[in-house]
């Protein structure tokens, strides 16, 4: 297992460097002189020159990257163009809300998805299966932001059970934390739950036809043991793969959901920075998000080692 970890890290760390480079290069994509567009409305040449100086745009590109990257290694993501905030400070202030939202909705997705998928796979062709399959099709299709809006309408406006907007940190008031996150996490988690349910059902249906499942049944094991032990562990790999992809998509979805529910997270930071064209801030958010996705991929890869001894040992 340790060998696997080392091998995966040997892949992840260079990826981080390349990703950093891509994130930084984004500024090159800006058509024309970025300083002109960044210097605000109707800039005069002095303002532009000031921006150029501040951004270090007069240096060669690779040198600029080097300055930025060594800063990143020290934990310095640069300064916001428009406020006195440091990018790192702003990002880490926003991280807890986004992480809370993501973890809560991923939990919803995993628990609900696997449960529904296993249930459907155990009774193929029955009404349980049909209802589950239909619900999953619907869950994949219905836009998560629309679900968010409808949930706000039903539970926050009409029934006023949950707050419609805002956020309370976990350490201040766990109950309020949960209440504020419940609607957005549900909205964000339903579609991944549906995807995971479909993947679980498909994987389990395939595995349940395998010879070794027949062997387990022929040994006299009860169905719960056959499904829960022998089948599930083998069906897990496509499910965790789907989980990893969904986790990445879900982090993307936080941009919209945080906007709808006025949550002070990374997504809304990205949103405001994009509108303000606050490039250092955009770069910082992108880098942290990419690092999060790489971390999830790393965990998913390590879980392969648990589920498949061949991967662990090779």
């Amino acid at each position: 297992m340790l060998g696997l970890l080392v091998r995966r890290l040997a892949f992840t760390i260079p990826m981080l460097v390349v990703v950093s480079f891509c994130v930084f290069s984004l500024i090159v994509l800006v058509p024309g002189d970025p300083a002109v567009s960044l210097a605000g409305e109707n800039p005069d040449p002095e303002q532009i020159a000031a921006v150029r100086e501040r951004l270090g745009l007069n240096d060669p590109f690779l040198l600029q990257f080097w300055h930025w990257f060594t800063g990143v290694l020290r934990g310095d993501l640069g300064q916001s163009l428009f406020s006195s905030q440091s990018v790192a400070g702003a990002v880490f202030a926003r991280l807890p809300a986004t992480l809370s939202l993501a973890l809560l909705s991923l939990t919803v997705a995993l628990v609900l998805g696997v449960a529904v998928g296993v249930l459907a796979a155990m009774r193929p062709g029955t009404w349980v299966d049909r209802v589950a399959t239909f619900a999953a099709s619907l869950g994949v299709a219905v836009p998560y932001f629309w679900v968010g809006m409808i949930l706000v309408l039903l539970f926050a406006i009409n029934l006023t059970i949950f707050p419609a907007v805002g956020y309370t940190p976990l350490h201040e008031n766990p109950l309020q934390w949960f209440l504020h996150l419940f609607l957005p996490a549900t909205a964000l988690g339903l579609a991944p739950a549906a995807v995971i349910a479909r993947q679980t059902r498909a994987g389990m249906t395939g595995v349940l036809r395998e010879d070794y499942v027949r062997t387990a049944t022929a040994k006299g094991l009860p169905p719960a043991r056959v499904v829960g032990k022998h089948a599930l562990k083998n069906a897990a790999i496509p499910v965790v793969t789907a989980f990893g992809l969904e986790a990445s998509r879900l982090i993307g979805g936080t941009v919209v959901i945080e906007q709808l529910f006025a949550l002070p997270g990374l997504g809304s930071l990205a949103y405001t920075s994009v509108f303000a064209r606050d490039f250092p801030m955009v770069q910082g958010v992108l880098l942290v998000v990419a690092a999060l996705v790489l971390l999830i991929n790393l965990l998913v890869d390590l879980s392969y080692g648990y589920f498949n001894p061949r991967i662990r040992q090779s």
């Binding site: 836009p143 932001f145 706000v152 309408l153 406006i157 994009v274």
Partner: protein, 299 residues
């Protein structure tokens, strides 16, 4: 019984062949959800295309006195905050949204599929390089990468679609590459090589037809995802720019009035859900209908 072999050729000639499997279209049509989805999608597309003919009002005709009205004989689905007819806007928005999704997926297909075929068939260094580029692009959640590209190049429908196309290309690349790898390992490809057929003929004739089904399924599912992404971007004000209507734009402006007129977010949401559901169900239907016939198990 004759056990001499001289008659075997003659008998093999008369031997019955397995009953012909129903054709692709029959199999697809027999899949009720997929078929219904295809009909619904066809209606949606037809209605959007015919918007100038069937829409009762111009999508931008403002009628402030009748703003935020509910369903009335004049405005079947009500009006928005500027008094514009919701039904007319939905129809026109459909054109924008569906076309946007189709453009993004077309860009992704044109980039991803040929490269996937190449990487999967040739292997080696090209495969490694393309694969790593894909990995890097996949490190960013689709919508966030799209936002970043839009941040650099400025908002607008065209930028949004190009951004989405680039973001989705590695996903199609992966599907095409994986399918190609699988087909590449099949004996019939080796048979073609052993015949002396060059790779540039094997790829379109032997590989592409057998890779087409997973790619088509992915395209169908991706159309749904692109539709959602366009809506999300437009909702945030990064995609289609008002006053042009797309379903996402309508959701965004409707959400501002959710306390007074919830119907405004209801209709565009239903339209998006219907279209994505249709794309997904068609994808499922394609997968089932295109899937290989499973080999008959022994006895």
């Amino acid at each position: 019984m004759t056990t001499t072999a001289d008659t075997t050729a003659a008998l093999a000639r008369t031997a019955p062949v397995a009953p012909t499997r129903p054709g692709f279209w029959r199999r697809f049509r027999d899949n009720r959800p997929a078929f219904v989805a295809l009909v619904v999608l066809a209606l949606l597309v037809a209605a959007s295309l015919a918007a100038p003919l069937i829409a009762p009002y111009s999508p931008e005709a403002i009628d402030v006195p009748r703003r935020l009205s509910l369903s009335t004989p004049d405005h079947w689905l009500g009006t928005d905050s500027l008094g514009r007819d919701t039904l007319s806007r939905l129809l026109y928005a459909g054109r924008v949204s569906l076309l946007a999704a189709a453009t993004a997926v077309a860009i992704a297909t044109v980039i991803g599929v040929p490269l996937g075929l190449l990487a999967g068939y040739v292997g080696g260094k090209p495969d490694w390089v393309l694969g790593r580029i894909g990995d890097v692009l996949m490190t960013f959640p689709a919508i966030i990468l799209a936002i970043a590209i839009i941040a650099a190049m400025g908002p607008g429908l065209q930028t949004a679609m190009i951004a989405l196309g680039i973001v989705y290309a590695p996903r199609l690349f992966r599907v095409a590459r994986a399918a190609t790898l699988q087909v590449r390992a099949e004996t019939y490809v080796e048979a073609s090589i052993s015949i002396g057929t060059p790779a540039w003929k094997i790829i379109p004739r032997r590989v592409l037809p057998n890779v087409a089904s997973p790619v088509l399924v992915q395209v169908s599912v991706m159309l749904a995802a692109a539709l959602l992404a366009e809506a999300a971007l437009s909702l945030l004000g990064l995609g289609v720019i008002p006053p042009t209507a797309s379903w996402g734009v309508m959701l965004g402006s409707g959400f501002k009035e959710i306390r007074s007129t919830p119907l405004l977010v209801f209709w565009p949401g239903v339209a998006i859900a219907l279209a994505t559901l249709a794309f997904n169900l068609i994808g499922d239907g394609l997968r089932d209908a295109l899937g290989r016939r499973t080999r008959k198990a022994d006895s």
